[in-house]
Symmetry: D2
Subunit: 139 residues, 4 copies
């Protein structure tokens, strides 16, 4: 775990635009898939956000994201998305995602989510096991 959780994405032809690189509009979605997969891994239960919402009754909608794009993403190499939580608030959590191909950073992002009740979207504190999973992986 020295390097934390890595989610691998196969970038395909259909992810690319006529400039022959992955379309920027898809890149935030790649980071979100990686965070979804992080939850699956951290909670040790299949399904990630789907499991959290439907089986556990809580959600983590996004309130902010910031992305910097460093190098084009292409289908030449797998996209390795390194995910780690960076901050746990009373009702919020922040993540950092570094997405790399062939040894270089393609983009990096910071994402902040709030904990809410499933269904109502009302703010709440995280379930204890979720908070513990985050704490276990904070820097």
């Amino acid at each position: 775990m020295a390097d934390g959780f890595v989610h691998e994405i196969r970038v395909g032809w259909g992810d690319c635009d006529p400039a022959r690189i992955a379309y920027t509009g898809h890149l935030p979605g790649f980071a979100l898939r990686a965070i979804d997969a992080w939850w699956e891994w951290a909670l040790e239960a299949p399904g990630g956000w789907y499991h959290m919402e439907i089986d556990r009754g809580f959600g983590t909608p996004f309130v902010a994201m910031r992305l910097d794009f460093r190098a084009p993403v292409t289908p030449r190499h797998p996209l390795l998305c390194h995910v780690r939580p960076t901050r746990l608030g009373t009702t919020s959590v922040s993540f950092r995602v570094d997405a790399r191909q062939d040894g270089r950073t393609c983009f990096e992002g910071e994402f902040t989510c709030v904990f809410v009740e499933g269904g109502t979207l009302e703010k709440r504190t995280p379930p204890e096991d979720a908070a513990a999973a985050i704490r276990a992986h904070l820097p």
Copy 2:
């Protein structure tokens, strides 16, 4: 033009996730569609980025985006994306997008792009008509 350019998006069932709101991963793409449509409108030529890359030989890849999510987006109302350029640099341009439904802001974002040669992705200054179109709509 007092209120600037507005691009309307029909949010559909397929844009929504099990929380019954538009999936966050799609929202940056909505903003990008609106900026693409802004270029079409500002250059008075059909195609937006497609026209710029293929007919004009230049592109405007993104180097950064920042989004704040204020309220859920749903299929109940059209999503009105207000787009305006906020800064023109020597080789870059920034845009602001405010996305509203039913009178309230759902999300807002800032986006920075660089001008590049089509094909090579090498940085360049904007074509004069593109720079003029941006200047004409700066705040």
Copy 3:
């Protein structure tokens, strides 16, 4: 109504792949957006499938689709999706979608859906107003 319902889609840069045409993987989604919009129009209630599922308690999941691709789709012209129901069964409905740009057919498809209870996905007969809306537009 001689020509039936038409849903217009703005094809963007991000819909295109490196062959400079809209990626095939997006085209079924365009047709589905058009059918979703058809329901909104036919039921005279905003939201389409979202309204049907959440406010009315029924859904229409797809059981089959068949598409033929005749000509590339590009951002050069709006994509006009002509939608009409072609068959109403006891618990099913079929649609035909013809998608045209600049006067020629780009793709055409046939889609069959079943009526189900919201939530349970159990097969059912359509609500009377939905059946009537379909019948009103059958060829």
Copy 4:
């Protein structure tokens, strides 16, 4: 190879709609990703369609697809997409994709593509190694 090539897809929260199942509009795209990955595997060169278009100068656009949806797709299990070519014509190739979760078929599809010159989209015969790769995996 008794069972042929299998491409695994992680279905996520963002792939699902408010009915809590993967949105139908995404399923053809899953099948296409699997065919793209099949080419990568069959040609033993990274990139699939991207490699074929950009490094090899040929493409395989779709002319038809037929899908039957048997059971909902969810994030509960990986989606295993079994891909095999079913027919090699003079200038065309057909594929079958069976997509399974947890031992049952969720959807199955047939897809027909034509071989074209990269750039021009003009019909052509397949390169010999591509034809050989297809023949090696025909039923």
